[in-house]
Symmetry: C2
Subunit: 148 residues, 2 copies
Amino acid sequence: MKKVSAWALAALVAATALPASAQFAKSEDAIKYRQGALAVLGQHFGRLGAMANGKIPFDAKAAQENAEVVAFMAKLPWAGFGAGTEGGKAKPEIWKEQAKFQDLSEKMQAETVKLAAAAKSGNLDQLKAAFGPAAASCKACHDSFRSR
Amino acid sequence: MKKVSAWALAALVAATALPASAQFAKSEDAIKYRQGALAVLGQHFGRLGAMANGKIPFDAKAAQENAEVVAFMAKLPWAGFGAGTEGGKAKPEIWKEQAKFQDLSEKMQAETVKLAAAAKSGNLDQLKAAFGPAAASCKACHDSFRSR
């Protein structure tokens, strides 16, 4: 069993949406958690970008694997932005504009699901087409909510 | 679609086993990656431990979700221990005893798959039974390869 169907991936994505009540013993744990999840996501996303932009050769299998990790990781960081966990590179606006933050996080998650489907097609043009909107969804949130 | 079959989980685990050739631009990126992946893993594992040890109430759905994240995350850190990435809390022995390190990492991954299956059962006793060996598999590697 080396392949996973789009259905199975979608099922797993739905099944593991985490409750907002996920708890951290300390604020620093939440910060470490969200930074860790985003760092892992960023690595795999970067490899897809390198393929989409022709910086490294397109490898359909690697693209699929990386995109599946991206789609999975995209669900995780948000539980680490709970009340009282201000700090790190997170701007205070996150806790003042919760609706906007949630909206951008959901858009990003949706784009990563599309990206995983595109990568699964094995077609570089589809990967390129999905990568741009996914990258834009990352940037939209960073521009508003991440300090430099 | 709120449930994922054991088959689908196993398929995803198999599908996303990452190639050893996963690359990092800098050694620090690899260190940040593996530390991030292990931090995320540790948070979710800790929540399962709290349930298994009666420190927080058993919540079958949360247990399943956390265990699925643990099983997924357990596959990731190893690509971050490539040649030339010594540093952080990683002992130099990792790069001197590669066979042992790989063996312990594979045992841990196998235990997390069992843990996810146990959590999926919805039975606290099964979770407790699987948690001990999984925790022991973490400790075995930390004892040999992680500095304090």
